[in-house]
């Protein structure tokens, strides 16, 4: 797991703090390179990034509740009142 020569720049505890910046593309080029170099040498952090991506995918599958027909009807009544009908 531990490859000191490659991982000297950042440690795992710092790497996990950079994940969102990395995914958002807001790290500097140098930071991004160091992060990627760390990941290549570190199974734990590679897995961590994978889990964050999987988490984002699950979050994306969370749907809002369906619009109840009576809610739509109520809003349409409101609309008609607003339009002065």
């Amino acid at each position: 797991m531990r490859l000191p020569t490659l991982r000297r720049d950042i440690e795992c505890q710092q790497a996990v703090e950079l994940v969102t910046g990395y995914l958002e593309g807001t790290l500097s080029r140098r930071e991004a390179r160091r992060f990627e170099a760390h990941l290549r040498a570190c199974d734990g952090c590679e897995e961590y990034l994978r889990q964050v991506k999987a988490t984002i995918a699950v979050l994306g599958s969370v749907q809002p509740d369906d619009l109840a027909p009576e809610t739509l009807q109520g809003l349409l009544e409101l609309y008609r009142q607003f339009r002065g009908e």
Binding site: Q13, V16, Q51, V52, G60, L72, L75, Y79, R83
Partner: protein, 236 residues
């Protein structure tokens, strides 16, 4: 509960709207419970029809945005019923303001911004809102690293089957519950970015926060949900 709210708000509006003397809407063609409109309905077209007083355009907008609006409002107010009322008030504000919508942001962002402002002031009255907390919060429990900051307890591997299973049934319910327990700022940002699919700029516009704060809140919210999934998977 909700119906009561609708009537009450509707009654308030009637007097004011009476003098507007708008043209009658075109024949209503909307269907109830249809799937949300995809991106093929352009903002320009919807805005134009809303301005013309086209009731079917209003129904489309409600079908597209209302459920997400209620979900976002729930971040700031104590109950689903109050969130419905905030969303309903937002629709009135949208109808009143649509002539002044300049298209500098998307219609969705504009509507969500009105909603977030209303929900926050309502939440503040209900004494639920807390200031955005930007104090330090570790992404991963510090006890999982050794003195040098390397993993001593690295994350267990999630196989492809596990990842596939995440989006199904019980785990999604756990994630929903986890989102509702996030601190307000994290919940709002995670909802807008990861559930509603807004860009970081749009989320910042809606919430009136800086990109840097938005990123911190997103990072912490996602980190907490990942930790929750890790915990749930370890139980299975």
């Amino acid at each position: 509960m909700v119906g009561h709210g609708l009537l009450r708000h509707g009654a308030k509006v009637t007097g004011r709207a009476g003098g507007l003397n708008r043209t009658a809407p075109a024949a209503a063609k909307h269907r109830i419970g249809r799937a949300p409109y995809a991106a093929d309905v352009s903002d320009d077209d919807l805005v134009r029809r809303l301005r013309l007083g086209d009731e079917s355009a209003f129904a489309e907008a409600v079908n597209t945005y209302h459920s997400s609006m209620v979900r976002l409002a729930q971040t700031f107010v104590p109950s689903r019923a109050v969130a419905e009322e905030v969303a309903q008030d937002t629709w009135l504000a949208v109808l009143k303001g649509i002539d002044h919508f300049e298209g500098r942001s998307s219609l969705k962002t504009w509507i969500f911004r009105i909603l977030a402002n209303r929900a926050r002031s309502t939440g503040a009255r209900e004494q639920r809102t807390t200031p955005v907390d930007l104090t330090d919060e570790a992404t991963v429990d510090g006890r999982r690293f050794d003195a040098a900051g390397a993993w001593s307890d690295p994350p267990a591997h999630w196989s492809d089957e596990v990842v596939d299973r995440l989006s199904s049934g019980p785990l999604v319910a756990q994630v929903r519950a986890g989102i509702s327990e996030l601190p307000e700022g994290q919940r709002a940002v995670v909802t807008l970015r990861d559930l509603d699919g807004l860009s970081s700029k749009e989320a910042c516009d809606v919430l009136g926060i800086s990109e840097a704060n938005q990123r911190v809140l997103l990072h912490r919210g996602r980190s907490r949900i990942r930790a929750l999934l890790e915990l749930e998977l370890a139980k299975r």
